[in-house]
């Protein structure tokens, strides 16, 4: 057990240590301050604005900002759907894969545009290299940047006084991608290749096995480049069907450490960014520590359950629950990943969640059902948490009979309506989706497990989609017209309704005066 404590302690120390400088760097990017990459990237940035016909000093109000988010998402959705449907006629398809069904293509497009990365397919048997790098890799970047942009808007809402505008979406999107996501991904992708993650445009390899000489097909592809951003952007969609459990995605304990750290790195850093931006570091740390308490409690529960509450068999040495786990990761790194990936809305896996012990599987479900706010998705996790903060301030304000305030801004009915949209849409859609699925007559045929665990497979699936996570109890057969269409719609709603609400909340906050904070006002 003690080795698990060291592993997790090291992880937390590394995470906190790296998130502080990165959080400050992201703040500089957000306010447009010069950073070390500015001389190299400014020409690219300005060139793109020119092509887009965007003036970077022109700011947007909440309506315009939301409109830009939605239009950009829609364009991505249509492009990704078309790319999949047409992949059979396009290049970079050495295995000659035909396009998927219309509903699977819709589900996948919705899933990647919404930063969920729920996968009802296996990459190696469904998607061409072109679809992966030209479609999915790109959405891995921009869906993450969109989440961060929305957070920037909300942060500005708290800082600005009596303003109608909250920044420019195109500038936020571009700067986040260029200055934060691409440089980090480059470094991590190369480190992953060094450890053995594949990165090639060559066809799958066929080789003969040693003992009986039978042919073994080894799927390849430009995987490392996509995996780097899949983790950093809390996307989580595997290049291969078995995600980061598959050795070509995550071959060593070191690659595992890089990947699991990348998942929480940006969401944790953004807490620091927030504290910096509102000129009150303690506000950032209060949120950071709250998240960390949930995270560590979840870590302890899952790790203990996997180590101690696994089954024992007559004549077999007891060593925890190894079903659905890789040797190199073992109980420690598998439990850690399961918690990290569901605390963040990442959803990649290095062990099969369906084969976790009952308590070990409950913790990921709980973390998702909180609404992905324990670090959560990049950007979305923090604006989700800020909605909970406002809710708390509001309730506490009612209890003591004061007008609730947060960061010097009065919290009023319109703000609370937006907060309710952020907080309530995910659980509502989890319920509706699960309810709709269990009344389908063929639901039982979608399951691998029987009894209560079979129900958990359905509940997990809709929890995952309705919180933009993307992990699965993979025994659930997700590739059906019903789940593809319903799940696709849920993923889009649950992404863009709370995000729009966050931007409108920002717009309304920015319009307000700041009231002086004094000791008498507890909140």
């Amino acid at each position: 057990m003690s080795i698990f404590i060291w592993q997790n302690l090291f992880f937390v120390v590394l995470l906190v240590g790296l998130s502080i400088p990165l959080g400050i760097y992201v703040y500089h990017v957000m306010i447009g301050k010069k950073v070390f990459l500015t001389p190299v990237l400014t020409p690219v940035e300005k060139g793109l604005y020119k092509l887009m016909g965007v003036r970077d000093e022109e700011e947007m109000n909440a309506k315009e900002y939301t409109l830009a988010i939605l239009l950009f998402g829609l364009a991505g959705l249509i492009f990704l759907w078309l790319l999949q449907m047409l992949q059979g006629f396009l290049p970079f398809n050495p295995e000659g894969l035909k396009g998927p069904t219309w509903h699977l293509a819709f589900n996948t497009a919705a899933s990647f545009v919404s930063n969920t990365n729920w996968q009802a397919y296996s990459g190696e048997s469904t998607l061409s290299y072109l679809t992966q790098f030209l479609g999915l890799t790109v959405q891995n970047f921009v869906s993450a940047a969109t989440g961060i942009a929305a957070l920037f808007a909300l942060i500005r809402g708290f800082i600005l006084k009596q303003q109608n505008t909250i920044g420019n979406f195109w500038v936020d999107l571009m700067r986040t991608t260029l200055y934060v996501l691409i440089p980090l991904s480059l470094v991590i992708a190369i480190a992953l290749v060094f450890q053995g993650v594949v990165q090639t445009f060559g066809p799958y390899r066929v080789s003969a096995t040693l003992e009986n000489g039978s042919a073994q097909i080894l799927p390849l592809g430009p995987a490392a480049s996509q995996i780097a951003i899949k983790q950093l952007g809390t996307n989580g969609g595997g290049f291969f069907g078995l995600n980061s459990a598959f050795p070509f995605e995550n071959p060593t304990p070191f690659s595992n450490l890089i990947e699991v750290l990348s998942i929480l790195l940006i969401p944790a850093s953004l807490c620091v960014t927030f504290g910096k931006a509102v000129k009150d570091g303690r506000q950032g740390w209060a949120i950071y520590i709250t998240m960390m308490i949930f995270f560590i409690a979840a870590l302890i529960l899952t790790t203990m359950s996997e180590q101690l509450f696994g089954p024992s068999f007559e004549g077999v040495a007891s060593s925890g629950n190894m079903e659905g786990k890789e040797i190199i990761h073992g109980i420690g790194a598998s439990s850690q990943w399961a918690v990290v990936t569901t605390a963040a809305s990442n959803g990649s896996v290095n062990a099969m969640h369906d084969s976790l012990t009952p308590l070990g599987g409950l913790v990921p479900l709980f973390l998702m059902q909180l609404g992905e706010i324990v670090f959560g998705g990049v950007g979305s996790g923090l604006y989700g948490m800020l909605a909970f903060v406002l809710l708390t301030v509001f309730i506490a304000g009612l209890m003591v009979g004061r007008t609730p305030e947060y960061l010097g801004k009065k919290v009023e009915p319109f703000d609370m309506k937006m907060v309710c949209l952020i907080v309530l849409v995910p659980p509502l859609l989890t319920l509706l989706g699960t309810a709709a699925a269990v009344v389908m007559p063929q639901a039982v045929s979608w399951l691998t497990n029987s009894g209560a665990h079979g129900f958990s497979e359905i509940l997990y699936a809709f929890t995952s989609m309705a919180n933009n996570n993307g992990s699965a109890f993979a025994g659930f057969n997700a590739n059906t017209v019903f789940t593809n269409v319903l799940g696709g719609i849920i993923m889009l709603l649950v992404r863009f309704i709370p995000m729009s609400a966050a931007v409108f909340l920002a717009g309304n906050m920015a319009k307000k005066k700041t009231v002086a904070v004094n000791e008498g006002r507890t909140f």
């Binding site: 078995l242 040797i327 993979a474």
Partner: protein, 186 residues
Amino acid sequence: MIKIMKQIKPALVCLVGMTILCGVFYTAIVTGIAQLIFPWQANGSMITVRFADGTQKEYGSELIAQEFLGSEYLIGRPLGTSNLSPVSAEQSELVQTRIDWWHSFDPDNTAEIPMDLVTASASGVDPHISPAAADYQVGRISQARGMKESEVRNIIQTYTKGRFLVFIGEPAVNVLKVNLALDGLL
């Protein structure tokens, strides 16, 4: 409506720009660097054996498991993933058939079977087994091959990787590499 029309152009141009930047340039740069500096890893960590007569043969990837069934080979974990609940009746039955298989395969071995030999992995192609699982098989392999137990142990030791930085991850024995070495190919 006018506002929507005004934003359509930036949305489309931005998507095209990002597709070129993040899809084409970024992927190409990573692939280029990978193929230049780490070509062996980037192409699947293939094990190539060169023979004395100058010919060479590929024996698969060191990262992907192969099926071994002969008693002279180190045997890996069950292939494929189950997605079964570890505490379900279906799983107990499945594990029991694996336990029975091991007992009929190696009847003289009365030691407890290590857990990883009777449970499926996450990838379904786990290339590793635990050191305990390798140790469990030493007697049988040395008997089948007429080798000394210490020789078998040495080979296993050679292809065992410890934890990263002493405490990250778990030690693991690469099954394919051990078997290649047992056959005198590595």
